[in-house]
């Protein structure tokens, strides 16, 4: 059993939770994730990236957006409640080295898992520049934390309600055009990572992306998370979640993510109607 020790609501749909999980807190490295199952026979297993950890307190922090029935139920939980199952740390840690000049691009809640990576890159001696983007002001998270790494970070929203107006590929392109970028790291929605990769490709700049595919067990057993990387089938849960963006078959990945879209929309609808009474 894993106790929720603190909870914060970043915006109407985005939540952060600190959970007691000493073994995971000790073992985890930047870029790894956990799978959470609320308990009982019927709840889904939900993969969520570890946004932060406190080894002394024995806690990990997860940040999630209320998008489906399961994240809706998770958001209903409060400090002192217990989550029955938290498995991790899963996935391979981010490869951290001194690349030189790195641009970290975070979209939506992707900013949360980007933080430990950006921090590790900074600690490894990189010059780290940060771009964070979201649909609208409410969905911009972790700005203060990110400013500790890059005080001059760029904020951009689709509707211009905060920071620049536009999408993250624009400031990314501007930085790449200056010619001072050795490595890009992008975490966010699939479509954002796809276009960041395209942008980086124009400048022959390497890019690391972190994929958030459909997953059940997270141990390599189901293969639901498979993606085509460099023409080979890879499992995000054991081979990833991070890959060379230039090698990812983005269209296939985005298509696979939509496999259950109709059913999930229905479940979400049902769940809200019933007040998540399950």
């Amino acid at each position: 059993m894993y106790r929720i020790v603190s909870k914060e609501q970043f915006s109407p749909e985005v939540f952060s939770m600190e959970i007691e999980a000493p073994m995971i807190a000790r073992e985890r490295k930047a870029g790894q994730f956990v799978i959470i199952q609320k308990g009982g026979d019927f709840n889904e297993r939900v993969p969520l990236t570890i946004a932060d950890a406190d080894e002394e307190k024995g806690t990990i922090t997860i940040v999630f957006q209320r998008v489906g029935a399961s994240t809706y139920l998770l958001a209903e939980m409060n400090v002192g409640d217990y989550i029955e199952n938290v498995l991790g740390p899963l996935g391979s840690p981010t490869h951290i080295e001194n690349f030189g000049r790195v641009v970290c691009v975070g979209g939506g809640i992707g900013v949360a898992p980007l933080f430990p990576i950006a921090q590790a890159l900074k600690n490894a001696g990189n010059d780290v520049k940060i771009i964070i983007g979201a649909r609208t002001k409410d969905l911009i998270i972790e700005e203060a934390k990110m400013r500790t790494i890059d005080p001059d970070l760029t904020i951009i929203t689709d509707d211009g309600s905060y920071g620049l107006k536009g999408v993250v590929t624009e400031p990314l392109k501007a930085l790449l055009e200056k010619g001072d970028v050795d490595q890009v790291v992008a975490i966010g929605p699939g479509i954002m990572m796809k276009f960041c990769t395209k942008t980086a490709a124009e400048f022959n700049t390497p890019i690391i992306v972190s994929l958030n595919t459909i997953m059940i067990d997270g141990t390599g057993m189901c293969g639901g998370c498979r993606v085509s990387v460099g023409g080979e089938t890879k499992f995000v849960c054991v081979d990833g979640p991070e890959f060379d963006g230039h090698l990812v078959d983005w269209d296939n990945m985005l298509m696979r993510q939509r496999t259950y879209k109709d059913q999930e929309a229905e479940a979400n609808h049902r769940c809200r109607l019933e007040g998540a009474g399950r």
Binding site: L87, G224, R256
Partner: protein, 492 residues
């Protein structure tokens, strides 16, 4: 198929044939008892168990068919060496408690093995009655009798005796059949045992893989609760290789020995075009959604499953049958099992193939899928299939399939389930290079002791065997337990 009532009436009639001092010929003439089962038309609308188990009369009649051979050829076919004639003899005396005690000397999980063992290739293959009648299907129904005893005495199963505490600690990684068998035997010797499971439910393949209609999960839960009653600690949410490594378990956490029974755990794909389309699933994923995540119960389950109409299952093993029959129960209109050899080469248990066919699954034999075609949404639209013929026997002794050039044809499907086996999970191997593995990534162990190349570390089940069976995994678990107990007795 005869109804349960008819079978019971026939059993009652057969009871009249039984008397003291019957000759072998007379015993073999007692009709073989079929096991009552749910009507195929009804059962594909529910998840309840297909086979209903013998009634007492049926069990007694079937037990009387056993010749009580002095040489016990059937026992040689049993991977855990149950004294089969002895337990069957107790059934003829209607002393079911005694029958269960005999089984429990060798097997911890009779209710499970009675259901999922491939008896026709093991004990029943060597049965003298089957030999006399020149038909393995006419052998004594040993598996059915085992199941009968386990179910009849499900509340009287006693816990094995446990030796005084030794102070030695053993970690068992994974909670499937190999681990269960190993943990129980190591615990009996007085060692402190902890089972580590990655998933949120214990039981390994018994929980996530084998469907409810073949192995009710209440039985699995019951067997597992026996382990905790024996004082074995069950810890879930620990993925060894990530949460802890084998070395950490031994060097930091104070375990004196480790048994690895993590299963195969990495689904194989065929590497044909279209295999990464949206509605292509590994059998593991399909079955895990349905069994572990309970997606068949859409009223309650939060895990979605893909609503299929026309399903193609690639493969001919037990897992393929399980996936095909699950698809029917989840509402598919047609399910084709596509296999490149013929029915007699299929690796699945005979009964599973029969059940699948009875339920309406089609066998598309001598057929090799060569490409999966997609629709505009990125899901499956059709499969291109190439015809095969049987050639020379291959290494497995089965005649190998040979593709016929120019024979490709296309069949419409909306879902593909790939069930061609599992490779071994790389996680432990990656973090524990001390353990030697073969080309396929399976752990190399000593055949007699299941010892790996790392001191104090033993392994068994599918991580060693590749895809095998529950009972073979249990057999290895027991072998390893014996070796671990010896190792710990010598270790200071």
């Amino acid at each position: 198929m005869k109804s349960a009532d008819v079978l019971e009436r026939e059993a009652q009639a057969a009871l009249g044939m039984i008397h003291d001092g019957m000759s072998a010929k007379e015993r073999a003439a007692i009709p073989h008892q079929d096991m009552p089962q749910q009507d195929p038309k009804v059962r594909i609308t529910n998840m309840s168990e297909v086979a209903l188990g013998y009634t007492e009369d049926e069990a007694v009649v079937e037990a009387n068919r056993c010749l009580q051979c002095k040489t016990k050829p059937c026992v040689n076919g049993c991977p855990v060496g149950i004294d089969i004639p002895a337990f069957i003899h107790e059934i003829t005396k209607k002393d079911y408690k005694a029958a269960l005690s005999v089984i429990q000397e060798s097997s911890l999980l009779p209710s499970i093995c009675g259901r999922v063992c491939p008896q026709e290739n093991q004990c029943q293959k060597f049965c003298t009655v089957g030999k006399m009648l020149k038909d393995v299907d006419q052998a004594v129904g040993i598996g059915r009798l085992e199941r009968f005893v386990a179910d009849h005495e499900s509340d009287s199963a006693s816990l094995p005796e446990i030796a005084p505490a030794t102070g030695k600690r053993v970690a068992v990684v994974g909670s499937g059949p190999a681990s269960i068998a190993c943990a129980a035997d190591v615990r009996r010797a007085g060692h402190d045992v902890t089972i580590f499971e990655a998933l949120h439910k214990m039981g390994g393949v018994l929980s996530y893989g084998i469907p409810e209609f073949r192995l009710p999960k209440r039985l699995v839960d019951k067997e597992l609760s026996k382990l905790s009653d024996m004082g074995i600690k069950l810890e879930k949410n620990v993925l060894v290789g990530r949460t802890r490594t084998i070395k950490e378990l031994m060097e930091e956490d104070g375990f004196d020995a480790v048994f690895i029974g993590t299963g195969a755990g990495l689904p194989k794909f065929m590497n044909i075009p279209g295999e990464n389309l949206g509605s292509v699933f590994s059998a593991n994923e399909y079955l895990t959604r349905s069994n572990l995540m309970k997606a068949y119960d859409q009223e309650h389950s939060m895990t979605p499953f893909f609503h299929s109409r026309r399903v193609a299952v690639f493969g001919g093993g037990n897992v393929a049958m399980d996936a095909a029959r699950t698809a029917l129960r989840l509402g598919a209109e047609t399910v084709d099992i596509i296999y490149r050899r013929t029915r007699s080469e299929m690796p699945a248990r005979k009964e599973e193939i029969e059940h699948a066919v009875e339920e309406g699954c089609n066998l598309r034999l001598l057929s090799q899928p060569v490409e999966i075609l997609g629709d505009e949404k990125g899901n499956v639209r059709a499969v291109v299939i190439r015809k095969c013929e049987l050639g020379e026997p291959d290494a497995s002794g089965r005649r190998s399939p040979v593709e016929i050039p120019g024979s490709d044809y296309t069949v419409e499907y909306d879902t593909v389930i790939v069930s061609i086996g599992n490779a071994s999970n790389p996680l432990i191997k990656k973090t524990t290079p001390e353990i030697e593995t073969n080309r396929r990534g399976n752990f190399i162990v000593d055949e007699e002791t299941c010892r790996t190349s790392m001191e104090g570390v033993y392994a068994g089940g599918d991580i060693v065997l590749g895809a095998a069976t529950v009972i073979l995994a249990m057999g290895q678990g027991r072998k390893a337990a014996r070796a671990i107990n010896e190792y710990l007795a010598e270790k200071k």
